[in-house]
């Protein structure tokens, strides 16, 4: 792969595409955008595989790229939304578009509405809590792997998860009470 072998690159894509897609999709919550970002992740891997020294596991390195690309996209879309909201308040553009509901493709039919609420609440989480929650709960990684990806200690990841659950509970409860 580091010698520019296209067969090896194809093998890498085949092996990691679902994991990259699931991680990116769970963070950006947009099916179209998730595939675009996944493509960018693999292009970055192709371009920078020479700089991969093998200090970390290959999977950790790929997860890091996927997470950072996804966070960049989330930040961009947040600032875009803020600009659109500002414009609509100033009467410079059409009315705000209503929020698009996101349904994760891996959700079972009977849990569709519940998981839609969960993903909406996840959007409100701070970045670190959101990443920890996605990697542990949606990607099924352990605390040690998540800590390595996030360059944190296991205790910090545990604390992040605890706060993430608390914040999600608060957000969902306030939604139920209509606050």
């Amino acid at each position: 792969m580091q010698k520019g072998d296209s067969g090896a690159f194809r093998h890498l894509v085949d092996t990691w595409q679902h994991m990259v897609y699931n991680t990116v999709l769970s963070i950006v919550q947009d099916i179209q955008e998730a595939e675009d970002i996944a493509q960018e992740v693999f292009i970055q891997i192709f371009q920078s595989i020479g700089s991969f020294r093998g200090d970390a596991k290959l999977s950790t390195w790929i997860y890091r790229i996927a997470v950072s690309r996804s966070l960049d996209a989330v930040r961009k879309s947040k600032s875009k939304k803020m600009l659109t909201n500002l414009k609509s308040k100033l009467g410079l553009s059409d009315k705000e578009k209503s929020a698009i509901h996101f349904y994760h493709p891996g959700v079972q039919a009977e849990n569709k509405e519940r998981s839609e609420l969960l993903f909406r609440a996840m959007e409100k989480l701070p970045e670190n809590q959101r990443i920890a929650f996605v990697l542990i709960k949606l990607e099924g990684l352990g605390y040690a792997d998540t800590a390595e990806i996030m360059k944190l200690t296991i205790k910090s990841v545990e604390a992040l998860m605890h706060r993430a659950k608390e914040n999600l509970r608060k957000e969902l409860t306030s939604y139920y009470y209509g606050k």
Partner: protein, 114 residues
């Protein structure tokens, strides 16, 4: 709507939080590699000229080649200019000599006139 579901909020919130355990991993849509390959061919042509130009060996080589080309063209231009001047002056002398009959007639010519 969840507010009308009849569940006490805490119980419903727990159900929502637990629903994450039933979510299966999302799978990449089919033929992803083909689309990725097409995008890479569009964005990364075989040899990128930008990256070539940034390599010092290549840029120095190109600079030397340009210098050599410039010098040869200049030398050729100067030489051809000198030749033209020489040709022009010799032609000019001949024209003036003809105009004023300054041409030296040969002995052979004189004999034939007589």
């Amino acid at each position: 709507m969840p507010t009308n579901s009849g569940f006490p909020p805490d119980e419903e919130v727990d159900k929502i939080l637990n629903s994450v355990q039933d979510i299966q991993r999302a799978e990449m849509p089919a033929f992803f590699y083909t689309r990725l390959e097409a995008r890479m061919q569009k964005n990364l042509p075989g040899v990128s000229y930008g990256s070539l130009l940034t390599k010092p060996v290549f840029s120095i080589l190109m600079l030397c080649l340009l210098l050599v080309l410039n010098i040869t063209v200049m030398i050729r231009y100067i030489r051809s200019d000198e030749r033209q001047i020489v040709n022009n002056t010799s032609e000019g002398v001949q024209v003036v000599a003809q105009e004023f009959n300054l041409t030296v007639s040969s002995v052979y010519n004189e004999k034939t006139i007589k």
